[in-house]
Symmetry: C2
Subunit: 168 residues, 2 copies
């Protein structure tokens, strides 16, 4: 049986978000062990004009909920970007997971051919469902999850690649 867009979207995003949440648990435990405020990690950056960790997690979540909604043809839920603590970010991931998991395979039938339009301030990108998933969603989702991992790793949190990949 050839894979469906659903197979390559919902279980994949669910897995990635679950792993990201577990990584934030290790970050909180690290801060507790070292006796510093875990919210400091939320402000960590790799370079002054790169987004801090909090924004990296928010974009990871937005990429996931946007993908699930657009490919299923339903409205994208609105989540305010008001997280401060790592617990807030875990809550944001939890809300995103709830939404992503609510999408059923039936809702994504034929999504590979669906026309998807992304409007940015200075350009509009148009995709098929397949190119949106392959060229935009997955590279972006993994990028922001990887940068979050990199930020924690660069700040001494003891995580490894298996935390990012999840149980095999």
């Amino acid at each position: 049986m050839t894979p469906s867009i659903y197979d390559l979207t919902i279980p994949v995003l669910t897995r990635g978000l679950t792993n990201l949440s577990a990584i934030l648990d290790k970050a909180s435990a690290h801060a507790a062990a070292k006796k510093f405020d875990p919210a400091v990690l939320g402000q960590a950056r790799l370079f002054p004009d790169m987004f801090p960790l909090t924004r990296q997690v928010q974009i990871t979540c937005d990429t996931a909920k946007g993908a699930a909604a657009r490919l299923a043809g339903v409205e994208i839920p609105k989540h305010e970007d008001d997280e401060v603590s790592l617990d807030d970010l875990k809550h944001r991931i939890g809300k995103t997971l709830d939404f992503v998991k609510s999408i059923k395979a039936d809702q994504m039938k034929g999504a590979e051919g669906r026309a998807i339009e992304l409007k940015f301030p200075n350009r509009t990108l148009t995709f098929t469902g397949l190119s949106y998933l392959a060229d935009f969603v997955l590279p972006n989702f993994y990028f922001h999850a990887s940068i979050t991992y990199a930020l924690l790793r660069a700040n001494g949190v003891e995580i490894g690649k298996m935390d990012y990949l999840g149980p095999m």
Copy 2:
């Protein structure tokens, strides 16, 4: 038409490797403008026990050639890990691209159900073609490409997300 494993593997890896090569061009140009040896960037790390940039690029390439070969059921080409300069790394990416692009859609017919076994020193992972692609190849490929990007960005190379995503 539902997407095939080929659609989600060969064009995706080709695109990612091409973008990575273009990012290394910008790194070389940056080193030339700042008058430092570009090979210094190959040794950049985000943390002492993380792999340096050179190894990140090698693993990105190995993930791509391993995926193309295993899903097509052909032998994985051997590439020595002997790169020193950024030009060497671009050459490595070029060899990987040549191999990835040599795989034809026909060779991946039914690859989603193919049994894939990865032997590591202390464990063996078993996958179907689909789970290998979704749970191992794509997260790993984008992880190492993203960490390469992060290393260059943290070292002042002026690249942006569109360099990583490529032309849309």
